[in-house]
Symmetry: C3
């Protein structure tokens, strides 16, 4: 696959995903051997209009493990009235002269696409606005399921949380719908259920799905439990409690013995730290996979040049 | 030339400038070949009391393309009450032990000179206060004219904008005055015209110049159109409009076919994006030249050690 | 010594300190030769919840002089509501996958210990809260005395300032108490004298000490004058002046000709810049030693892996 930019998860076909995941496994081995110097001389810029230390470090570490260098902004927007006033397109054209790839976290939906339209070098979207995309998160989520379950076909996956607005869950549902015999359980209070556009998409593709609000209907049947972040303020404003969806030792006893528990992190109360000791807790391995997926994407972008 | 610090554009004689520009051209070739590792082991600190992502990235990329490493502050002043309370001189003496060159953007006029007075390692002034200097901008502006026009003698240059306060325009007028048969057109509303100190300087050196407020008097005659940033708040407070100085396709038709258009960027409305497609639009090439000029300066500072 | 984490100065025995200081001297030579590439491929993360440009640069320069790379935060707390809401333990577990050592400046006392309890990679405490520890400062202070006086036994040391809250002075008093025939003079206004827990510790270990409020009682007798930072707001709220403790040329005349003057920097009025020219002024050499001590600690942590 010739990879020019990484803008949205939908751009990856199933063969593309398999190529990416094969390469991701190689990256894990390269890191175990202490990284490579193959991309010495390459420069990556992390242009973050909204700060995110974990995502930024994951990209920067990926570049370092490949032997490259990093130009970094912790919070471009807070710190540059100039950049704020200027057009994103101009900023990208200028910064593209200083580096070989730009990782962009922009504050407006569609920012990454606008950047890619003018950039002579690859753009990686690291999140663009609340309603936007964060494709490397979706890819590392999918890779984690693939790596933990050794397949993506025939899996039953429960997606839990405020599903109506959850970006990670929406992207993951979309990606999983590309695989055979996948079963999706959407587990949420009725007022926070997955939105109609995803349901329509699944119906069009003939994907099995089930909407549930009771964990007991779901947990015993699934291979993957994907829990998501709670936005307390929003829940309070809607007068909804989600405490009966929290993953705790009692919930663990209801799951399959070989199921895995995922979460995009950081977590709040929605996963009890007592769960961490259980082998099914895959969320730290999931986070670690972000490093390998990002390394794999960088190598594909550099090779396509 | 033995270069110890880069504090103000006036420190460069014509032979110094020619040596710098020769080296700058070499740097462009080095970057095309993927950079060098010659300065592996060297450390540059970017100590920015006022944030400027583009200027900082340009310096840091220059250091990386030379093989060096970077200690970076995005906004030293916002983040260190300690540094704010302490004397700049002490900060410089301390940080000089951690690196091989300091790029300083200070918030007070004369900050770079004070730093150089106590520093055992080279200081590069990346801007010191509103009324201060930003010599690498002036040098990259001059280099761009040299590189685009293949000479600096006998050129006609229009400088446009709020010329009374414009730092870049003042520095460039000063540098251009060193070359033979240069003609300078200062194009601005009367209340924002170039200040008397520059006029006196040009008269002393017998440099041809003309003050104009009508673009039609100027545009057909010049080889270089140097447009500058608009400070809307200041214009509003003075009740002046500068919209008839904006560069747009209609203005383009009045210019020579081999003229170039420059701007220090970022721009606002003062250059219409429709102009970007015209071959005469040199402002992105100008920005890119900043990388090569800064690389050339760094190598000269390291060699003089 | 197998060094797993650097959390508090008390963890170092006298033989450990001597091993560290021997290695620190080697690091000074390595820096003079332009650094090493031995730790190429290693990544250090500086996770600073509270900004400190000087401390961060000192660690990052140490890592660069060893050939390594750096993931950097200027102000993690200001910039990541996510990280603020999440447990420190989760953050550490996540970031540990991106690097080989974490330098943590946390805003809560005990933060570094909590981090070390869950971290699979070494943690270096770069300060944890007002009442917490900053062990690398204490180690570089002790190394400076050792390096300047060629011994740590039999020295007379004056500690000056608001001693009741001074973290650096408390840690240094603790470390000095491990050496033979040390004499400690605590010089402060009575209301700011050293607290009872340190006095009890010294009494238990049979260390000679003297509490004084008059500089004339102390200055002629000591080998080391350790001056500390003044917190003006606190002094004003307590209605105490410390101006008669300021080190100035008049005070210099009262000191031994081979005494040294130390200060953790940055300073305010408590050391007159006129003192800088005196050979006894050791505070800039002390700051520089921080680089070598931190390099030595990093190599010990990497070797213990």
């Amino acid at each position: 696959m010739k990879l020019q930019h990484v803008i949205q998860s939908q751009q990856f076909s199933v063969p593309n995903l398999m190529e990416l995941f094969g390469r991701t496994r190689q990256m894990e081995k390269i890191v175990q051997r202490g990284g490579t110097r193959d991309y010495d001389g390459k420069i990556m810029a992390t242009l973050f209009y909204r700060p995110s230390t974990r995502t930024r470090f994951s990209f920067e570490s990926a570049m370092y493990r490949l032997g490259g260098r990093v130009l970094s902004t912790e919070s471009a927007k807070a710190f540059s009235s100039a950049i704020e006033g200027e057009q994103l397109e101009d900023t990208i054209r200028i910064i593209a002269d200083y580096c070989d790839v730009i990782v962009l976290r922009h504050n407006e939906e569609g920012g990454a696409k606008r950047a890619a339209a003018v950039s002579p070098i690859p753009i990686i979207n690291a999140g663009d606005g609340a309603g936007g995309q964060h494709p490397t998160q979706a890819l590392l989520d999918l890779y984690t399921i693939y790596n933990e379950c050794n397949t993506l076909d025939g899996l039953s996956v429960a997606l839990i949380g405020a599903l109506d607005t959850g970006r990670t869950v929406r992207s993951l549902a979309y990606l999983l719908s590309k695989f055979d015999r996948v079963k999706l359980y959407f587990l949420a209070p009725p007022e926070l259920q997955i939105s109609q556009d995803i349901i329509s998409h699944l119906q069009e593709r003939d994907v099995w799905f089930h909407l549930a609000s009771d964990p007991d209907e779901v947990l015993a049947h699934v291979d993957v439990v994907y829990q998501t972040r709670i936005d307390r303020e929003r829940l309070q404003s809607k007068d909804v409690s989600m405490s009966n969806y929290d993953i705790n030792p009692a919930m663990l006893r209801k799951m399959k013995s070989d199921a895995i528990i995922m979460h995009p992190l950081p977590r709040s109360v929605e996963i009890d730290p007592a769960v961490d000791r259980d082998a099914r807790a895959a969320y730290f391995r999931q986070s670690r996979n972000g490093l390998f997926v990002r390394m794999a994407l960088l190598t594909m972008l550099f090779e396509a040049e």
